[in-house]
Structures are given as structure tokens and as C-alpha cells.
């Protein structure tokens, strides 16, 4: 094994181009487990800890450019207003020690269906900034996950940052596990209201071969909210609508039985989380509308 230690992003890209099999390591919270347990013996480890840019973020007009190695702890502390869904998801990651090391770049690189960040990224809307010596491209998050622990990166590409849409409405995140800490999701759900475009977006974790959006459920809800004038009148969403949305979310998952839970439990839990996160976000949206009216 060789330990490659690039001092800059350019050096990192050059190293990845020269050694496409090199395994990038940043927080190490996935890679080191595999090495410790002898599940993986990469020819090259590509240490990204020295690349300072990866630990920075910029808040822009429309989106946040989040460096691939920004630890979850920083996201929780600094980006709760701009990225509420991702901040909530970050808080469910493992433990303080892990959140101090791990970041979204690693979650995307590993591309586990159970990765905690994915449902929040899908719901908010995001693009992955991938780069190689050949150039930079932005991969829409909907096209990024290609299979179980597979993603759209080319062998010579590294993840530099993630561009995540700033919240324009309430966002929620929910995760099922046996306790509050140190839990790999049995399943997870992210939901974001986008009042500006009058749309709702979702993300389902750990209930399909890849993280997925419940697109049919989104379309149903978008139409129902539009028809009823809900975005303007701020009425309570009828239980029947919430139930239909929940059922469609459950139907969008294609879970398996495993040690953490059965497929039918997961499908059920996705529906419950969908209904709850919709209720929470919608109540928050209504509350914000009332406050805005009261102030006016």
C-alpha cells in the first residue's frame, strides 16, 4: 500500500489521474473501518486532509457551496439556517467523534443507500462538483447514485464540493433506528417545502438500492396543494391527502429484509415518516405565513 499525501487540490487531481484505483480518504470513518477489518486493501490511499479548500464553504445567493470535507459538526453549527434539512441529518450521524471527522463528500463517495446526508440532499436539491485533470462537471444529485454503493464518478474524478440549494421554506429529516446515537438508518426520510416554486421534494434513505426521491408522491402532492390553493390560503392539509402522499412515498421505496429491519417494516416506516415530516413542515410554513401577515 502507498500513502499519497497531496498538499493541494491540483496535486490531489494529478495523483488520482496517475492512480485511478487510489481510494480517497478524508474523515476515514468508512475507509478505515474497511481497512481495520481487512475488507479492503487498496493499492493507494489518497489522503485529502491536507487540502484546505475542502474544509471551506461559501454561502451564495441561491445555494451553498459545501466543501467535500466540511465535517458534519460544522454543518450543524454554521449552516442550520441555509441548510436545515442537512443540518438535521448531520445531527443524526453516529456520534460527536464521527461528526468531527466525517463529511458529505465521504457520504457521496461511499454512496451507501443508508448514508444519512442523501435524503436531505435529494429533498433540498443539489449538484455534486466533481473534478479531474480533464475538467470540472456538476452532477445533479438525482443522477449521482447509480447502484448500491455506486456513484456517477469516473475513476479519475474526485468530489470537490456539493452545491446545495438554500432553503426557501421549512425542511425536515427523520430517521428510524434503535437509539439516538451510533445508528445506521433502518430507513430515513427527508422533506423540503419549496414555496418559491410551489413544490415539495423528498428523499428516501435505506429503503431502496440507492437513495431515491418519491417522485410520484411529490407530483401528487404538488398538484393537490396547487388545486386547493394551499400555498396561498395556508390551510391544514387534509388527512386524506397526507395519507395518500404517505402511501405513495411507501410505494416509492423498494426495501429489502436485513438484520436492521424487514422490507415491510421499512415500507411502513417510510410512510409514517413521510406523513410526519409533511405535517411538521407544513405547520411551520403556516406559522411563518401567519407571522408574516401579523407583521404586515
Amino acid at each position: 500500500m502507498d500513502f499519497l499525501r497531496p498538499a493541494s487540490w491540483e496535486e490531489a487531481l494529478a495523483a488520482k489521474a496517475e492512480h485511478p484505483t487510489a481510494v480517497p480518504i478524508a474523515g476515514g470513518t468508512d475507509v478505515m473501518v474497511e481497512i481495520n477489518f481487512d475488507h479492503r486493501r487498496p493499492e493507494y490511499l489518497l489522503d485529502l486532509n491536507r487540502v484546505g479548500d475542502l474544509y471551506e464553504w461559501e454561502v451564495g445567493e441561491e445555494s451553498v457551496r459545501l466543501g467535500a470535507s466540511v465535517p458534519y459538526t460544522r454543518i450543524m453549527e454554521n449552516l442550520r439556517a441555509e441548510l436545515p434539512g442537512l443540518a438535521l441529518a448531520s445531527h443524526t450521524v453516529a456520534s460527536p467523534q464521527i461528526r468531527n471527522r466525517g463529511g458529505v463528500g465521504g457520504n457521496l463517495g461511499t454512496a451507501s443507500p443508508a448514508g444519512d446526508a442523501h435524503p436531505a440532499l435529494l429533498a433540498a436539491g443539489a449538484e455534486v462538483e466533481a473534478e479531474s485533470v480533464r475538467g470540472t462537471r456538476r452532477i445533479p444529485i438525482d443522477d449521482f447514485y447509480t447502484g448500491v454503493k455506486r456513484n456517477a464518478l469516473a475513476p479519475d474524478e474526485l468530489i470537490r464540493a456539493v452545491h446545495i440549494k438554500k432553503a426557501d421554506g421549512p425542511q425536515q429529516y427523520s430517521k428510524v433506528g434503535t437509539r439516538n446515537a451510533m445508528v445506521i438508518a433502518v430507513c430515513a426520510f427527508g422533506l423540503a417545502l419549496h414555496p418559491r416554486t410551489r413544490t415539495v421534494r423528498t428523499g428516501i434513505g435505506s429503503a431502496a438500492p440507492t437513495p431515491v426521491r418519491a417522485k410520484t408522491a411529490e407530483e401528487f402532492l404538488n398538484a393537490a396543494l396547487e388545486e386547493g390553493g394551499f400555498w396561498d390560503n395556508g390551510k391544514i392539509i387534509a388527512p386524506s391527502v397526507a395519507k395518500q402522499f404517505a402511501d405513495l412515498c411507501a410505494a416509492a421505496s423498494s426495501p429489502i429484509d436485513d438484520v436492521r429491519g424487514t422490507a415491510s417494516y421499512r415500507r411502513h416506516a417510510v410512510g409514517v415518516m413521510a406523513r410526519r415530516t409533511l405535517t411538521w413542515t407544513w405547520e411551520s410554513y403556516r406559522g411563518a405565513r401567519r407571522t408574516a401577515k401579523g407583521a404586515a
Binding site: M1, R5, G28, F37, P96, Q97, I98, R101
Partner: protein, 213 residues
């Protein structure tokens, strides 16, 4: 490969390090610092918790090469780290505990010296004399004393990680709520105590810290 880094205020050099080796392995097997415990090797249990540039991390998940040029504090250096922090009026950057202060090995406090090796993690092994590097012969950190006084140590395997995590929380948050303590220690598993005595110990350390100010 060779790795150079600072441990408990002293420059260290480890040779013939395998590229896939963890920081934990280097600390325990190459530098003679077995205080940080090796249990799950997957970041689940927190017993290997150290501070890397001031930040609590699982040393089993840090590749040794990633520690190059960086600053590590282990449970063996916790007492000295806490002492320097107290002298410099608190410091959350993690940089305050780093400068080695030669010749500042404290004398063992009566009554606690006997507990020092297990808490300090020296495991009773000869580690080359009393000093602030191995933690032998130094006074205990307030959090260590509180663990003893509250009876928060049973088998002791989780204790070093809990001490490092709890000490860091008290540095950041001098008046933690119970929820704050639970969250800060949520990455540290203990299979003996049921955590109640550990909670007592952290509350005790917080209270004593408050009195001292």
C-alpha cells in the same frame, strides 16, 4: 513510512508504519501509550477517543499518515493538558495544551496515586519513567478525579475515551445540562456502569470547575 507528530506536547517519530495503520495502533504499539483502548475498531465505542488538533476523534479511524505534523492529546496527557488550560484561563482551540513544559511533572496526589495508572492508562507497564507524556507521576485532571470520586470506573476499559470526551465538553460548555452530557458522551459505550455514575462524575467535575472560577 515514517510519521512525525506531537503527542501530549512532545514531538514523536514513528518508523516502519504500515500505510493502512491507524493512529490508535501507532499510539499503543509503537509509542508505548496504551491508554487509548482498542475495542471495536469501527468508531462505535469511543474507547480510543483522542484529541486531534484539539478535536475529539476516534483514533482507530484516523490513518496514521493523516496525523503527520498534527497535535494529539491522549488520556496520558490529559492531566497536563487540563493543568495548562487552567493556568491559561481556558482555551477551546486545543492549541493551549500543546507546548511541552519540561520539568513540570507534578507529584502524585496522596490517595489518588494508586488509581493513577489505570486511569492514566499506563496499565501498570513500565513506560520509561514518570513524566507528562505517559501521565505517570502527574496529578490527575479534574475530570479524572471526579470519575474516581463518583465511582464512575468499573472495569475501566471505556474510561480513557470517556475522560477525553467529557473533558473536551467541559472545556466548550462549562455548565452542561444532562442532555448536553448525554449527547457529548453518546459516542462512548460503557457496558458496566449503566452510565448513571458517569453522569454523576461529569456533573461533579462541572460543579467543581464552576467553584474554582
Amino acid at each position: 513510512m515514517r510519521v512525525n507528530f506531537t503527542v501530549n506536547g512532545r514531538p514523536q517519530e514513528a518508523d516502519d508504519v504500515w500505510e493502512g495503520e491507524s493512529l490508535l495502533y501507532v499510539l499503543r504499539e509503537r509509542l508505548g501509550l496504551p491508554g487509548s483502548k482498542n475495542a471495536c475498531e469501527q468508531g462505535e465505542c469511543g474507547s480510543c477517543t483522542v484529541r486531534l488538533d484539539g478535536v475529539p476523534v476516534c483514533s482507530c479511524l484516523v490513518a496514521a499518515g493523516q496525523a503527520e505534523g498534527r497535535d494529539v492529546v491522549t488520556v496520558e496527557g490529559l492531566a497536563e493538558y487540563a493543568r495548562q488550560r487552567a493556568e491559561h484561563g481556558g482555551c477551546s482551540t486545543g492549541s493551549c495544551g500543546t507546548p511541552g513544559l519540561p520539568g513540570l511533572e507534578g507529584t502524585p496526589a496522596a490517595g489518588t496515586a494508586g488509581a493513577s495508572p489505570s486511569l492514566g492508562g499506563a496499565d501498570g507497564r513500565p513506560t520509561g519513567g514518570a513524566d507528562s507524556h505517559t501521565g505517570e507521576g502527574t496529578e490527575l485532571a479534574p475530570i479524572q478525579q471526579a470519575f474516581i470520586d463518583a465511582g464512575a470506573v468499573q472495569c475501566g476499559f471505556c474510561t480513557p475515551g470517556l475522560l477525553v470526551a467529557a473533558d473536551e465538553m467541559l472545556e466548550r460548555n462549562p455548565n452542561p445540562t444532562d442532555a448536553d452530557i448525554r449527547e457529548a458522551l453518546s459516542g462512548n459505550l460503557c457496558r458496566c456502569t449503566g452510565y448513571e455514575k458517569i453522569m454523576d462524575a461529569v456533573r461533579l467535575a462541572a460543579a467543581r470547575q464552576g467553584e474554582a472560577v
